[in-house]
């Protein structure tokens, strides 16, 4: 009998672990691509759910942030923030990445950019 896929909690933790361990990105495009590639890699490695963006509403797979989910960061036009249901992912022009929980604003990832600075 096939083993069930790991839980979302386990996959999200692995995503954070891999993203934190990846080399620092040097700009927005590189950081955004790193987020997408890392999350897609985790889901490909740890689940049996195929990458099928049209089915993203109901397949249970974790999908990377999309451009239509970009939000304003008041007073910081240099930052790009992406909203998912429970988190905000902010990327700086230096490639830094920050992920916070919406519920309590808790920082769950603080990855410096190529200049060793955060967002």
């Amino acid at each position: 009998m096939d083993q069930p896929d790991p839980s979302k909690a386990e996959r999200f933790a692995e995503f954070l672990r891999r993203l934190a361990a990846a080399p620092p990105a040097s700009n927005f495009d590189e950081a955004y691509r790193q987020i997408c590639d890392t999350l897609n890699g985790v889901e490909d490695d740890m689940t049996s759910i195929p990458f099928d963006p049209p089915n993203w509403m109901k397949d249970g797979r974790l999908y990377p942030p999309q451009m239509d989910k970009m939000k304003v960061v008041p007073g910081r036009p240099d930052l790009k923030r992406f909203r998912s249901k429970g988190h905000s992912t902010t990327i700086g022009p230096n490639g830094a990445i920050e992920i916070r929980r919406i519920l309590d604003d808790q920082l769950v990832l603080d990855k410096p950019g190529v200049d060793s600075r955060g967002v």
Binding site: K8, M67, D68, M70, K71, R83, K85, I102
Partner: protein, 153 residues
Amino acid sequence: MNSIEKIRDDLVGRFPNLRIKLDPPALENGSWDLDIFREGGLDFVNVEWRPDRGFGVTTPGPDDYGTGVDEVYGSPEATFRRVVHLVETGESTVPPEAVRLAEQAGVGPASPSRVEGRDDLTVSTLARVAEAMGATLSIKARFPDGSERELEF
């Protein structure tokens, strides 16, 4: 004022003590998010609105990164009623993947909302729905004096 701003204002009027935050899009055709923070350590209620797709309602857990919305509503009125119910009862929304698992468990109806809408349900059906969601079924009787007793089957 657009539809989700109206929902925000109505919710602020209904629940003046709750923290309610609107998160507008950066791009013209992007999605709006409305977050309603419930009391008692419960997950918050998120409403995502895109004019071309309607309203998504979800009570996100701490690991819901990059998943879709749980429930979809076509009108601001239905969305408002659902959010009010979630705030007042402390209930959670049910993700579609749980619906898929429920179907695989042989429950039959494809949607928990349709299950909830039925006139009559057997305990075994409810137990299978709960099991498919990774939960166990518990039924309690509440008496006029406020006491509760769990029913065993």
